[in-house]
Symmetry: C2
Subunit: 165 residues, 2 copies
Amino acid sequence: MKAEHINPFIRALINGFDTMLSCKVTRGEIHLKGDPQTKFEISGIIGLSGKAVGTVVVALSESVALKAASAMLMDEYTEINDDVVDAVGEMANIVAGAAKAELAEFDMSVSLPNVITGKGHDVRFPSNVTPLCVPFECPWGELAIEVGLAPAPAEAGSMATAGLA
Amino acid sequence: MKAEHINPFIRALINGFDTMLSCKVTRGEIHLKGDPQTKFEISGIIGLSGKAVGTVVVALSESVALKAASAMLMDEYTEINDDVVDAVGEMANIVAGAAKAELAEFDMSVSLPNVITGKGHDVRFPSNVTPLCVPFECPWGELAIEVGLAPAPAEAGSMATAGLA
């Protein structure tokens, strides 16, 4: 994927946190996924498919997940429960939904979010995909997004046409 | 989702293991996801979207992942590395691809697989989705699939038409 394709996801995350949660997040540098990698406690993950296929991972430290869910659901959460899981899934949904609208040339639709919990979990991509990662900081702690996009299998011959290579 | 919608995924897993890996798997009972839940070491996860949206999780014990990757790639793997991760992602891809072909009425396309590693990880679904789980046994150990399907957001009004309710 081209580095520019991650920009809509970055904007979607910053805007989502700002408008929905009144939380200012600051982005770090785009980098390739690799070790050493910060491990997060909870990750929202959602698939995209159309002329390109991909996934977006919104990875949150526990403190960010709890504060974000508390702000989103106007309640106070102190542990990861079903509500927090739903809030994290919804964040992944919002980021993917806003980004796909900007990436209209790929005509993608979003699937259903899943949320991964468990300290030390790692979300990995197929080795033929090069996911781009962006770390963020906010007053609640650290978070990151990881985005992998590839040409859709039927479109693999038109990789250049799809603008992915 | 209707219980019958999981059948194509069950058939796809059994056929995939049989034809690709020469491994006979035996299925257990379909059940709703809930505690206590067997935890698996590695999970392949892939999104589907179209007239319905959903995800398929293929969850494997470490021994099944290693033996399956060894059979698929004709090598011998003794630890979870990039090749094993790719093989598990490919399994999720194969199961989702074969099942979506049978569920033609939902006109779904598959996204990119992700693979979750880390002992004790849990793959959770949004609370408004009721994923169905099926455990399997094979000579290599235990595995399971979890499938959650929901009407696509734009199609939510035609849930009955889409055959999901």
